[in-house]
C-alpha cells in the first residue's frame, strides 16, 4: 500500500510534529518501505484469533483507597519550562493572546 506525502503531512499534524518539506519527503519513502514490509501480516488468516494486548492475563488491579504522600506542587512544577509558581503556563488558547 502506498503512502503519499499528503498523508504523511496529515499524520505529522496528528502526531504534533513539524516536518520541514525535505524531511517529509524522506519520511514518506521510509514509512512506505516499512509499511510494505508490515503488510506481510496480511497473509495470515486471523479471523478467529483473539487480540493479545498484553503479555500477562491481568484482570483489573485494585488498590486500597488510601491517601499516601505524593509530590508537592513545587516538586511537580520544578521541571516545567514555564510556570508561575501555581500553574503551568501555555500560550493563550481562547481569544487574543
Amino acid at each position: 500500500m502506498g503512502i503519499t506525502k499528503d498523508q504523511v503531512r496529515k499524520v505529522a499534524l496528528l502526531a504534533r510534529l513539524e516536518l520541514p518539506d525535505e524531511q517529509l519527503e524522506v519520511m514518506t519513502g521510509q514509512l512506505a518501505e516499512i509499511v510494505t514490509y508490515i503488510d506481510l501480516l496480511s497473509e495470515l488468516d486471523t479471523d478467529r484469533v483473539e487480540p493479545m494486548a498484553h503479555a500477562m492475563d491481568l484482570a483489573n488491579v485494585f488498590a486500597e483507597d488510601d491517601v499516601e504522600p505524593s509530590l508537592d506542587r513545587d516538586q511537580a512544577l520544578a521541571n516545567a519550562p514555564r510556570h508561575d509558581g501555581q500553574c503551568y503556563l501555555v500560550p493563550a488558547v481562547l481569544g487574543d493572546s
Binding site: I3, Q7, V8, V11, A12, L13, L14, A15, R16, L17, E18, L19, Q23, M27, Q30, L31, E33, I34, V35, Y37, I38, L40, L41, S42, L44, T46, V49, E50, P51, M52, A53, H54, A55, M56, L58, V61, A63, L71, Q75, A76, A78, N79, A80, P81, R82, Y88, V90, P91, A92, V93, S97
Partner: protein, 503 residues
C-alpha cells in the same frame, strides 16, 4: 588476574571476607573509566564523587558490623532511561537534557537499598529506540572490541561499560532486544526478564506492554545476583507480577539434569553469518556433551515477529511520547524575539494551527531525533482512522499466535536456543540511513517481548575478525531459574565470558 577481571560474584566474596573494600573497588573502576571512557563513551554521566562517598559509607557500615545490602560495595551502572531522583535522566534525548526526576525508579530504590554503588548512567539510543546507540543525542558509543563498530543498542552503553571493564554490573531495558542484542555484540551476559518480573515504575516508557528492565554482567552468576535485587512486586506498577522472587544467586548453581533444548531450523536459514552459525552449532554440541537433549521445534509464526513488533511498539510509543509537550517538563520551543521596533515574526499561514499547537509541534520537532519521530509517525499512522484494524488490531492477533507457538514449544523443551543476531557487530554509520534494515536485526529477539517470556544472551565464541558472538536462550514465563541454570552450565565448561577486549 586483576581486580577488574574478577566477576561481581568474586568481588562480592572478597568484599564480604574483608579482603577488599568498596572504596578500593570503586577507585579501581573510576581509574579504568578515566582511562578508557574517552574511547568507548559508554556513559552519559559518571558519578565519581557520589560513588566514592557511597563506597566509604558502605565500608564504614561493614566495619562496624552493621547489616548491609545484598550488593554492598559493588559498582552498578544504570541505563539513562531509569529515573534517578534529583539527578539528570536524559534518555539520551534533547527533550530531557535538563530533566531531573523528582523520584527514583523502583529498581534504583532497590539498588540503593542493596547498597550498590551507583557509578554512573549509560548511553543509549534516544528513548531506547534503535539497535546501535547511534540515535543518542549526546554521542555514539563504541564497541570495546572494535572501536569502529557499534556496541548494538539500545542499551549499548550498558553493554559496552561492562565489556570494557568500567563496571562489573549494569542495568538495561529491553523492549525488542535492547538488552540481549548489545550484550551479544559486546560479549557480555544480558537478561530480559519475564514481563512483570521487574517493576517498570520510573522506567521512562517506550512501549509499555513490551518494556522490561534487566541485568547485564560478565557472568551468568552475576546476572542472577543482580536480577534477584531488581525483581519483585511493586504496587506502583500495576503490571508488576505478585510472584515470589527465588534466590537466583543460589539456585543458579544447582545441578541440572535432563535439560531439553529446542532449536528452530528456520533460525539457521539464509542470512545467518557463517561464523555465527558455527559458534551456535558448537554451543549446541557443548550442551549435548553436558547431557542435554537438543531437538528441533517449530515456531511457525516467528517470521511475522518483526512486522508485528514494528506495529505494536510504534503504536504504544506514539501514545507514550505524547506526554512530551513542552509544558510539564522537558524541552520547550520558544518563539524568536520580535525584531526591535519591528512587527512580530508572522506565523506560517496554517489555519489549523493555534499558538498552542505550534508550541507542541516545534517543541517536538526540535526535541526529538529522527528515529523517535519515525516511530511516532509510524504509530500515529497505524492507529489513525481507517488503518487501526489493518495494522494495530491485526498485529495484536498475530502476537497471540506467536505466544501460542511458545506455549506449544515449552510443552516439549525447557529452553529454546538461537543466535542473538544474524551477524557480529556492524560498523558505526553502516545502517543509520536504512531504518528497515536496522529493524530486521531484531529478528531473533523481538518474539520474547511479544510473548512476554524471559531470554538471556551470553558469549559463545568469536568471529574470525575477533568480534564476540552471542547465544540466546529463551524460557517460559517466570522460568528465570531454569534459564539462568541452563546458561550457567554452559559457562562452567567454557571461558568465552572470561575474555576481555584489549583497550
Amino acid at each position: 588476574m586483576t581486580l577488574l577481571e574478577l566477576t561481581a560474584t568474586e568481588q562480592l566474596r572478597q568484599l564480604e571476607a574483608g579482603e577488599l573494600t568498596a572504596a578500593e573497588l570503586t577507585r579501581a573502576y573510576l581509574e579504568r573509566i578515566a582511562r578508557v571512557e574517552p574511547q568507548v563513551q559508554a556513559f552519559t554521566r559518571v558519578n565519581a564523587d557520589a560513588a566514592r562517598q557511597q563506597a566509604a559509607l558502605v565500608d564504614r557500615r561493614r566495619r562496624q558490623g552493621d547489616r548491609v545490602g545484598r550488593l554492598a560495595g559493588l559498582p552498578v551502572a544504570v541505563k539513562d532511561v531509569l529515573c534517578t531522583q534529583g539527578a539528570p535522566t536524559t534518555c539520551a534525548s534533547r527533550m530531557l537534557a535538563d530533566f531531573r526526576p523528582p523520584y527514583d525508579a523502583t529498581v534504583i530504590a532497590r539498588l540503593r537499598a542493596a547498597d550498590a554503588i551507583l557509578i554512573g548512567k549509560t548511553n543509549m539510543d534516544e528513548f531506547a529506540m534503535g539497535g546501535s546507540t547511534e540515535n543518542s543525542a549526546l554521542h555514539p558509543t563504541r564497541n570495546p572490541w572494535d572501536l569502529t563498530r557499534s556496541p548494538g543498542g539500545s542499551s549499548g552503553g550498558a553493554a559496552a561499560c561492562v565489556a570494557a571493564g568500567m563496571a562489573p554490573l549494569s542495568v538495561g531495558s529491553d523492549t525488542g532486544g535492547s538488552i540481549r542484542q548489545p550484550a551479544g555484540l559486546c560479549g557480555v551476559v544480558g537478561l530480559k526478564p519475564t514481563y512483570g518480573r521487574v517493576s517498570r515504575f520510573g522506567l521512562v516508557a517506550f512501549a509499555s506492554s513490551l518494556d522490561q528492565v534487566g541485568p547485564m554482567a560478565r557472568s551468568v552468576e552475576d546476572a542472577a545476583l543482580l536480577l534477584e535485587t531488581l525483581a519483585g512486586h511493586d504496587s506502583r506498577d500495576s503490571t508488576s507480577a505478585n510472584v515470589p522472587v527465588p534466590a537466583y544467586h543460589r539456585s543458579v548453581r544447582e545441578p541440572l539434569n535432563g535439560l531439553r533444548v529446542g532449536i528452530v531450523p528456520e533460525h539457521f536459514a539464509q542470512g545467518l553469518d557463517a561464523d555465527v552459525e558455527q559458534a551456535i552449532r558448537e554451543a549446541l554440541r557443548v550442551y549435548e556433551s553436558l547431557g542435554a537433549d537438543v531437538r528441533e521445534v517449530k515456531l511457525p509464526h516467528a517470521r511475522y515477529a518483526v512486522a508485528t513488533y514494528y506495529v505494536i511498539a510504534p503504536c504504544e510509543a506514539s501514545s507514550n511520547l505524547a506526554r512530551y509537550d513542552g509544558v510539564h517538563y522537558g524541552y520547550r520551543w520558544s518563539p524568536p524575539p520580535a525584531p526591535v521596533g519591528g512587527e512580530p515574526v508572522p506565523s506560517p499561514p496554517d489555519a489549523d494551527e493555534s499558538d498552542l499547537v505550534r508550541l507542541y509541534r516545534r517543541t517536538r520537532a526540535e526535541g526529538f531525533g529522527m528515529e523517535v519521530k519515525r516511530r511516532i509517525m509510524l504509530g500515529t499512522y497505524a492507529l489513525s482512522a481507517g488503518y487501526y484494524d489493518a495494522y494495530y488490531l491485526k498485529a495484536l492477533k498475530v502476537r497471540r499466535l506467536i505466544r501460542q507457538d511458545f506455549d506449544d514449544v515449552f510443552r516439549d523443551v525447557d529452553l529454546v536456543a538461537s543466535p542473538v543476531t544474524a551477524a557480529p557487530a556492524f560498523e558505526l554509520g553502516e545502517m543509520v540511513h536504512d531504518p528497515l534494515k536496522m529493524y530486521l536485526i531484531d529478528l531473533y529477539t523481538v518474539s520474547a517481548n511479544l510473548a512476554g517470556i524471559p531470554g538471556i544472551s551470553m558469549p559463545c565464541g568469536f568471529s574470525s575478525s575477533g568480534l564476540p558472538i552471542g547465544l540466546q536462550l529463551l524460557a517460559p514465563s517466570f522460568g528465570e531459574e531454569i534459564l539462568l541454570r541452563g546458561a550457567y552450565r554452559f559457562q562452567q565448561v567454557t571461558d568465552w565470558h572470561r575474555r576481555s577486549p584489549s583497550l
